[in-house]
Subunit: 285 residues, 4 copies
Amino acid sequence: MSRVFRLTISCPDRIGIIAKVAGFIAELGGTIVEANHHSEIDDEWFFMRHEILAESLNNDLASFKTKFAPLAETFNMDWQLNDSGKPKKIALFASKESHCLADLLYRWHEKDLPAEISCVIANHDDLRSMVEWYKVPFYHVPVPSEDKTNAFTKSEEIAASYNVDMVVLARYMQILPPNICREYAGRVINIHHSFLPSFVGAKPYHQAHTRGVKLIGATCHYVTEELDAGPIIEQEVIRVNHAKSIEDLKRLGRDIEKITLSRGLRFHLEDRVLIHGNKTVVFDN
Amino acid sequence: MSRVFRLTISCPDRIGIIAKVAGFIAELGGTIVEANHHSEIDDEWFFMRHEILAESLNNDLASFKTKFAPLAETFNMDWQLNDSGKPKKIALFASKESHCLADLLYRWHEKDLPAEISCVIANHDDLRSMVEWYKVPFYHVPVPSEDKTNAFTKSEEIAASYNVDMVVLARYMQILPPNICREYAGRVINIHHSFLPSFVGAKPYHQAHTRGVKLIGATCHYVTEELDAGPIIEQEVIRVNHAKSIEDLKRLGRDIEKITLSRGLRFHLEDRVLIHGNKTVVFDN
Amino acid sequence: MSRVFRLTISCPDRIGIIAKVAGFIAELGGTIVEANHHSEIDDEWFFMRHEILAESLNNDLASFKTKFAPLAETFNMDWQLNDSGKPKKIALFASKESHCLADLLYRWHEKDLPAEISCVIANHDDLRSMVEWYKVPFYHVPVPSEDKTNAFTKSEEIAASYNVDMVVLARYMQILPPNICREYAGRVINIHHSFLPSFVGAKPYHQAHTRGVKLIGATCHYVTEELDAGPIIEQEVIRVNHAKSIEDLKRLGRDIEKITLSRGLRFHLEDRVLIHGNKTVVFDN
Amino acid sequence: MSRVFRLTISCPDRIGIIAKVAGFIAELGGTIVEANHHSEIDDEWFFMRHEILAESLNNDLASFKTKFAPLAETFNMDWQLNDSGKPKKIALFASKESHCLADLLYRWHEKDLPAEISCVIANHDDLRSMVEWYKVPFYHVPVPSEDKTNAFTKSEEIAASYNVDMVVLARYMQILPPNICREYAGRVINIHHSFLPSFVGAKPYHQAHTRGVKLIGATCHYVTEELDAGPIIEQEVIRVNHAKSIEDLKRLGRDIEKITLSRGLRFHLEDRVLIHGNKTVVFDN
């Protein structure tokens, strides 16, 4: 993979945006590796993402930004420019269940996840050995039901000490407090083990079993203050039938949880997700 | 397709049921073409279905039933014996949208749907020409919002005059009154254009668009008095993304609505669905 | 759906193409509804497609073309500009099996297929009544094995008399002669009832049954002189198991054949498919 | 999971088999947890599988076998009786690529794979550390191209020293010699990284990329002397498009390879797969 700069933009839709942005990139000599656009008709909003070959640009990131700023201002752009050579730093939050955590650590170890995993923070100590094999710092921060606030504060401080860019809840099983949701808005990703909006909250596989659905699902979404109601990044389902017990649903579900989380997270890491209200634009090439 | 008798049974689970039933069939010389079983652990209930080659039996349907009755009583069986040579008679209820109706009529015309379509009852006259090409009686029974009761009574009378075994709501867009739901319990099949239990009620594609889901679905289910809450027979989904408008969702959804309804209906027509509380056992070989 | 002009381009990859094209469109006042790009790394080839709101342009199609030509020449572009208001004209070729033909006619009738179906040419007379209900001209042109050349010539003449833009083989079951393949290169679409390249040629469901595959498929592709080897536009699969007979495979397969053909055809009709050697770039938004 | 005995039978189809077998089980007091049947019409062959609750039987495995033998002989049955309490012992063969190996080890470690992993034999030393974390014996047996015979003999001896029941090729990338294929007939499972029979042999993702398919697949199958041509147990696919590079195909393919192998292997471990010529009957409840 060649190093690229990723330019993501959302702004009011107007004629000429693509031309202006593409023209700007061409002036800097930039080779566009990937370009995506979306016009939201309802509210006339425009979204675009470019991957530009870093070596083709006769400018570094800071210089690009400085030169781009006036153009961005003209069009009232909400924009970001990221360097694929500086992968995002992640704090993984986990509990006792290992499948999502193990999957992400494995992918990262195989250089299959374009990120830096800074630390794992877990409210149980069970997964320490697994995490430490990967030489990732592991923190056991219990979350007692009678005093969760301190636990969350401590967890947040650990994450902050690594200067992480984002938090991934890998089956953390705790509801984050509003202040963390706000501080990390658009930067906390959760995997919910149902096809949202069905089966919000606790024990979704039990709910699915009771309702007798013929497919079960998993949903990767941004965390907001309202439980399981944030913008959806990715979803997947798998077929089940009457013969499957709740244990079977959990087992089958683990596979789609892992895949849905890793796929959604990859989209975020590659700056492919633009949040628009409570929805997402996902430029999956 | 050879003619078969279909024996479906549900009863309290006990040791020896399979042996007794299989022994009974063997005594009559019956060749078992297909056999399925399911034990529901939670409430110790047992379900089974046999397809028996009609020509292999030295008994007709009535005689089989008479001989089987004592065994059924011993095990407190809820049972049915149906002859594939006597396909179920269907009244199709429709409105203005043609895709599900056209699909079922086409499959039936191609001898691909093991049923007899007795009549189509629609609350609009739009689809008359299409239905009449298939030489199926078409009844236009408007359902005025100020007096629906008469319309439903009339519709039911038409269906009854054909002595139909079941009703299929092919995007009928009307809520059946409780008395019809009760009278045809387990014999009215609906297609709902969402992945239930998400997006119950009206305009599910609008709801899906607003929520920003990444897959949309369709659900084939039995109609009960509670709206969109009956036992689910079959479900299917299709992938969508941010670029899809509500019109796109409707268009893409039509394909899975058709497939889900025809698949679920086929299960019912072949006596593959056993209702268990608000869930179904579907013996899809 | 608003009327749009669709501009598709393929050319050697160079810096500045997007900027130039987008700049050109902006100069004409064009509102870009949809824009897609692809760089083929291997041979440094570039592909793009724009949908431009017709009413936003202060130019008609001819004028746009005249003005665009010099730019196209500079970049050695292979390009097309089509008007969504002038849907492509199709000759449907069929045989005895009706499912794909019926499906396309139905979609077209419901204004769900952005095309004009000019005529149906079939080597058997079986489907005449169905086609004529749709008020589409039906031609019965038998293809006797001892003299196929005349039949193909006659079929081609009928299609030509309608000035059709393309041919769709809706389970035609005949191999087109090389001269027609060449004349209509990139404009004949076939549906093959297997997941190509598996099971080329005759009786693919029999081949699939013999091999014991666990999924069967369908492939929509452009027809070339080599049998079932042309550029693939779209594919789909469905799960099967040991209990499915060849008849079951055919029945299940029909559903994915219909969907795969209609989906692939729609891509072509909306100018979303760019042929590149023996492969396709499909800009499915 | 309660301990069960699994009785699998294949034999010429005759009337009364189900009754006799179910009767036999009932006489021993056996509670049937799961029962599956299949009649192969073409060659009149019959397949069945029962899961019987071990604690419900007033007989141990040996005693059951002794009593069942005469019945089995009457019907010329090919049969097996296995105890879920004695999971199969596996030798995993690997090379450099870790994804399938890591996935199986993880599932086994989480008690999610009903097997005993006896050892890992790899022709490269790369994966030693990962395997040893799981406390599974790791053997590095290089397979030099100029003398493969010794390497295979040595590998087989190691496997035999653990008295393994089966071999799993977790992306071993070597072709087993005919003598091992014969000795372990029906007991060596491979994962091939294509949707067989497409893209047999080396570099299937390259082949898929060249052909321009729109879905890529993975196939779990028994190994026979003919390369990639053994009975298929399970297959899965995932959607790709023109924008995916060969590296993307490999990355996306890894996920379905893992899932397809683990799913197919689970079927085998639970005695759900009955081989019939070059096909399989898979009783997946």
